[in-house]
Symmetry: C2
Subunit: 241 residues, 2 copies
């Protein structure tokens, strides 16, 4: 008959959303064990099978990691396979360009109109801009321009300067409890410009890959934007079913 209100959604979905909320809220942090199936089933007043279904869906989405005998933890972005899944630029030999990072500069700035549009904020909002190089076999291969929202990540510039992280998203998790849940990349072919010549040693006018990435947190909020310009002896690998 008529439902008062609540959600007419299945129990396991409502439970899943609440578990997600608890991860978002920082109640359970990446790497930490969450309560067992039995404990959660009791807490939510559902059967173990239902609790399991909620947990399993989050595990399928790689937000949780289940280990028999040990328990269920919140996934960490530092886990090797996570890093690899996000970094899809390969050298001609089929190796991931993921070896070494060299920071060029970190600066505060006001959001350009593009940045404002991507982040959904007003033009002029504070952002942190970072330039860095990815190296492979000691050679610079990718020139990266990062742009981070300071309203969401206050003081991130200083942190980056101080720690020069290899894996930025691990820093966001550790310091801001922000988990990158989705990434969108546009890959284009462009001509090398003076800056590329300087940083990567490519000839001006040569074709290069340009990748524009936007990274979203669990709430679907755009947190970081990144332009990557790669030497054309690399390729971008995309595999899907």
């Amino acid at each position: 008959m008529e439902q008062p209100a609540a959600a007419n959604k299945p129990l396991y979905l409502r439970m899943k959303e609440d578990l997600l909320r608890r991860v978002q809220s920082g109640e359970w942090r990446p790497g930490e064990l969450i309560p067992s199936e039995n404990a959660l089933a009791a807490e939510y007043g559902v059967s173990v099978g239902t609790a399991r279904k909620a947990i399993e869906e989050l595990a399928d989405e790689r937000l949780l990691v289940r280990q028999r005998g040990r328990g269920t933890t919140v996934a960490m972005h530092t886990h090797r396979q996570e890093v690899l899944r996000h970094y899809r630029l390969m050298t001609k030999d089929g190796e991931r360009v993921n070896e070494e990072t060299s920071y060029l500069d970190v600066a505060s700035a006001r959001a350009s109109s593009t940045e404002a549009k991507v982040f959904g904020v007003n033009r002029g909002t504070a952002v942190t801009r970072v330039r860095r190089l990815r190296l492979y076999a000691k050679q610079p291969v990718v020139l990266e321009f990062l742009s981070l929202r300071e309203d969401v990540l206050p003081g991130v510039g200083a942190l980056i300067r101080a720690t020069q992280p290899e894996v930025l998203y691990a820093l966001l998790e550790r310091e801001y409890h922000i988990i990158i849940a989705k990434v969108s990349e546009k890959i284009m072919a462009v001509k090398a410009e003076a800056e590329d010549t300087e940083a990567l040693g490519v000839r001006a006018g040569e074709p290069m890959l340009e990748i524009e990435r936007v990274a979203y947190d669990l709430n679907g909020r755009a947190v970081e934007r990144r332009i990557m310009r790669a030497r054309n002896d690399t390729y971008y690998l995309s595999e899907f079913a």
Copy 2:
């Protein structure tokens, strides 16, 4: 019941593999209903929950499609979302380049060493080569070079010439019962050559996207290789979690 030996794998996995085999064998064809959960559970001598788990995994992998009240069917590649999932080239406006196809030529040839390597066959094995254009707003945007194994797809050249299909993988399903299960793409930046100038009207030397795709069937066998050269007012879209 006690299994004599067989695999020590869980029941639902063995059942899943057998269901997969039955799809591969052509016993159930794309678009057809397969037996219900209850029928399959009875047939395999397992509980409904176990049968459900086997079926659900195949549905998660998009090989099966479940519809409440109706039944479970083998997925068809012609389903709109399937086509879109495979075609990731977008115009600057964010529209998929997927509107119209114009075939230039279809010919038989002997596998080059690259083709032989990709397909895992001897050099000189028969292949069918196809050149075609993808149009958007009546303008040619992508020049494609397809190469198909004739040992796996006998007579495919004549079929393509006769039907000029918009969706090649739907033709492979219909005529050869071959389901494309995995696709791997390498995206590179290259210079436009004479052939691109002719077909797409781009200036020689301009940067273009070149995409090399290999398509695999359910057995993991490489069936098709494709080079796509796209005008640089397009981009390749990649989204992942």
